[in-house]
Symmetry: C2
DNA sequence: TAGATTGTTAATCGATTAACAATC
DNA sequence: TAGATTGTTAATCGATTAACAATC
């Protein structure tokens, strides 16, 4: 369920703010959902709430972290050391949330060897070796669109089990390998669509 | 509809590859959908296909671009000149797809004035003026989570109509302002969830 | 003609919401 | 007790898929 990460983040923030109990209504309000939806979602988890109080924040966080695998670290490689790839490698949030970045790769000899945070850009030809040696399970694709499929094939062949695709192209992989697409450009286009929709609705009301 | 940007991208790529006609089946295959879904989606658009051939690629691209507002430029400001903000400002894909980045802002005096691509980091205190003077309609939030809500309030007050929120916190805005969240960390957590799901399914089959 | 494809209707499926008894 | 909240069932809603006549 794609809402689970949102619950986790929110509960973490609420706990940081000192909350001991959280109600379905509170979660719903903060995420723009209904209490019903939240209770339905949480009922699939191994957690139970209390009348008049809600859910124990600490327990809820622990259970959410568990089901999302956020209670252990996940090894990741980043392919593509352009602006986006480098930004991710340096982005503290990933390390802070249990992702262990095992390498950043590129084919451009001008960036290979360059330091990015605590890492050094490595030739893409070594990606198989690193993935196998270190048992990396996740790969992030941050290369130009035309190269995305080739990179995906290579990662899957090396044994990667999940791909986060940031490239502006769809990649096809054999079943058994998970792919999540996350494209800022598409999100922006969605935003434009919504903004125009709002503008139209507004005009209708007049 | 959040699939429209995907159709647009795909049709652009297919056209670049020389395709004159595209069928619903071809689109479906490339995006992991069914032909039915694609035809339903396109039926809401002002475009019609032809038996035995499909849709005219050029016409489809034009119509999709139109409904997504990709046929004109959209002014954007970026708030937050950290790794991610800077990467976006330098990221050619945005400019190339009709987004005109009118400024990148930060509150940290150590980065204010620094050059980022062709832009220069400006003090966040000037964001209202820039938004108003240039008629900017979209804002991208790329600041740490605790600052996100404050930035959103400020952008909305300045007249921004749509917000792309990359911060790891939910922002609440008055109705009439569109918000799209795009968080790499949440996408990664979703990926982890899917990878573990696959692993479980696999174990079940044995 | 045979075959491929659209456009649309109807069926299915799943997700969201409403409602409310049970509980504290 | 009164009131707030969960957990769950049933209803609603919307999105996806199947099916197929119409078309070229």
């Amino acid at each position: 369920m794609r809402r689970l990460p949102k619950y986790l983040t929110l509960v973490q923030h609420l706990r940081a703010g000192g909350a001991e109990w959280v109600s379905s209504a509170a979660l719903a309000r903060a995420l723009g959902l209904t209490g019903s939806t939240v209770r339905q979602d949480l009922s699939h988890l191994n957690v139970s709430g209390f009348s008049r109080r809600g859910y124990r924040a600490a327990e809820l966080e622990r259970v959410l972290a568990r089901v999302l695998g956020a209670d252990r670290t996940w090894k990741v490689v980043i392919v593509g050391a352009g602006n986006l790839g480098q930004a991710l490698a340096k982005h503290g949030d990933l390390q802070r949330h249990g992702f262990d970045i095992c390498g950043i790769f590129d084919i451009d000899s001008r960036v290979i060897g360059r330091k990015v945070g605590i890492l050094r850009v490595t030739s893409f030809s070594e990606v198989d070796r690193v993935v196998k040696e270190r048992g990396v399970r996740l790969g992030i694709i941050a290369v130009p669109a035309p190269a995305a499929q080739e990179v995906a094939d290579r990662l899957v062949a090396a044994g990667i089990q999940g791909i986060l695709n940031l490239a502006y192209a769809n990649v096809l992989v054999r079943s058994g390998v998970a792919v999540v697409n996350a494209r800022i450009l598409e999100s922006l286009q969605e935003l434009v669509y919504l903004v125009r929709l709002e503008a139209t609705e507004w005009r209708k009301k007049r």
